[in-house]
Amino acid sequence: MSKTLAIFQKEMKHFFYSPIAYIVIAAFTIIAGIFFYLYLSSFVEAAFMDMIRSQQYRMPPQKFNVNLQLIRPYFWNTALISLFVLPLVTMRLYSEEKKSKTVELLYTSPLTVSQIVLGKFFAGVVFYIVMLVPTMFFMGLLFAYGNPELGPVLSGYLGLILLGSAFISGGLFISSLTENQIIAAIGGFGLALVLWIIGWAANYSGPGLASVLNYLSIINHFEDFAQGVIDTKHVFYYLLFSTFGIYLTMKSVESTRWRAS
């Protein structure tokens, strides 16, 4: 446990001693912010138009729900953006150690493979949580000027963390396969793309295939979270996905040690 923590702390240092971390956080915040701004302005505009219309025609104004019409699509978008930003977080998690040969230190110290892999995995997850912190400012704005429900916001963040963890386990696995960070990043983007396309294809395919694709899709499991529903089925899916990614990473580490390089 304390050794897992040692790996975790070291990884956090690598993140924050490197300018890439700050660039990634800034880029993520800006992209999420742009989407937030777009959703917010179209929401405000729609509400405003409706107000004018209702005054003109002396009808009661429609009900506009900030949770359904703003927060939900915003979270859904943030989840998608996360998929395409996280490869930049996972790319160096393992590759860098292979390249600089520091794996030799890890493999000849009294560490288990699971301590190494879990330390790295949790560092990735915590870094992602740090990435999400600035976006809470956007939610803060809504609470300052409006009256949204808190539940869907909290479940949205829980969903993001679960989805992020699942993706990070996959990115870590890809990073463990190569000593080249660029290849690890490209592989990560490829994974993000596949996961996205699966979810997208599910919406356009026949009922039989759709249920399979829907189950596999990392993003479709997120929908309930964005609506304020925490379904254990989806929690289980993400935990299973993460466990599988971690398991594959451990197997990959063990087998490269066997072949050795």
């Binding site: 040692a6 520091t102 794996v103 030799e104 230190l105 000849t108 560490l111 066997w258």
Partner: protein
């Protein structure tokens, strides 16, 4: 302290080492000597449990590499060919991390770190980022890392490669002082390094052990014959007659010396005849300017062994 028996390792189809066998006693400094690609690194990575052999047995600090690798890892320090450094961490941060993963309890870690900083001569750079250090200091940080858990067994893979001559001398001194407290295996392709630092040598070539002994014994073993070099003044034929009067002369080689009227004679005999030879030459009224035994350097042995020539 270390028992290695019939270690064989393949990388795919390629055989890197074959039936490597040797022992290392407690407190000994053993040199693993061999040219590039001989299999030194492969052997060391197996002993440090970085990877398993294809076949064979080894025990390090009394534990089996197959069944108890964790126990071995707790008791060894390893300096790989490329020191395993994180260039963005400060020296103390790096050593603190290594201390943690080696399981040094937090109340002992601080003193362990200051000990190795002292031993490896890192005082002036403790707060520098590892990546900004010179090659020599990086190597010292690597060594400090290996020493941190006060290991019973130290395994150092070409510890002086890439250093300048002054740094090389310093690192060798450091290593020499480690024997006794620690059991050390050090690999090198530099012969004088072994003669200077190691009590015993295992010579490895193309993945196989070709000789194993003390540097002195290896030299002696090569000497199936004694070579004596003489510088004599006076009658050349009289001198040769004296020399050939000794029964077991194998070979005589005469050259003119740089000084006029003197000859340099190289005599190869089965036994050491130096004292009798000197007496006889002087009795015959010849002038003797020099008489010495010619020693074989480890270099000679190495060439003989690795070019598969018969030892003289």
């Amino acid at each position: 302290m270390i028992e290695v028996k019939d270690l064989t390792r393949y990388y795919g189809e390629k055989r890197a080492i074959h039936n490597v066998t040797f022992d290392v006693q407690k407190g000994e400094i053993l040199g693993l000597l061999g040219p590039n690609a001989a299999g030194k690194t492969t052997t060391m990575r197996i002993l440090t449990c970085a990877m398993p052999p294809t076949s064979g047995e080894a025990k390090v600090a009394g534990f089996d590499i197959w069944t108890e690798p964790m126990e071995i890892k707790k008791r060894i320090g390893y300096l790989p060919e490329n020191p395993p450094l994180y260039s963005d961490l400060r020296v103390t941060e790096y050593l603190d991390f290594v201390g943690k993963i080696k399981g040094i309890p937090s109340n002992k870690r601080k003193s362990a770190i200051s000990d190795v900083i002292e031993k490896a001569g890192l005082n002036e750079v403790t707060h520098q980022v590892v990546g900004s250090l010179s090659k020599g200091f990086k190597q010292r940080v690597g060594l400090a890392q290996a020493l941190l858990n006060d290991p019973e067994v130290l395994i150092l893979d070409e510890p002086t490669v890439g250093l300048d001559p002054r740094q090389i001398i310093e690192i060798r001194e450091l290593i020499k002082n480690l024997g006794g407290d620690h059991t050390v295996i050090l690999s090198t392709h530099i012969l004088p390094e072994v003669e200077m630092t190691c009590g015993r040598v295992v010579i490895i070539n193309e993945g196989e052990v070709v000789a194993e002994d003390t540097p002195e014994n290896l030299t002696r073993r090569l000497k199936g014959s004694e070579r004596t070099v003489l510088e004599v003044g006076g009658d050349k034929n009289a001198a040769l007659a004296v020399i050939n009067g000794f029964g077991d002369v194998l070979n005589v080689e005469v050259n003119n010396s740089k000084s006029p009227g003197r000859y340099q004679i190289r005599v190869e005999t089965r036994s050491d005849i130096r004292s009798d030879l000197a007496k006889s030459l002087i009795q015959k009224g010849l002038a003797l300017y020099e008489l010495r035994a010619e020693t074989y350097s480890l270099e000679d042995i190495f060439l003989h062994l690795t070019t598969k020539e018969e030892v003289a």
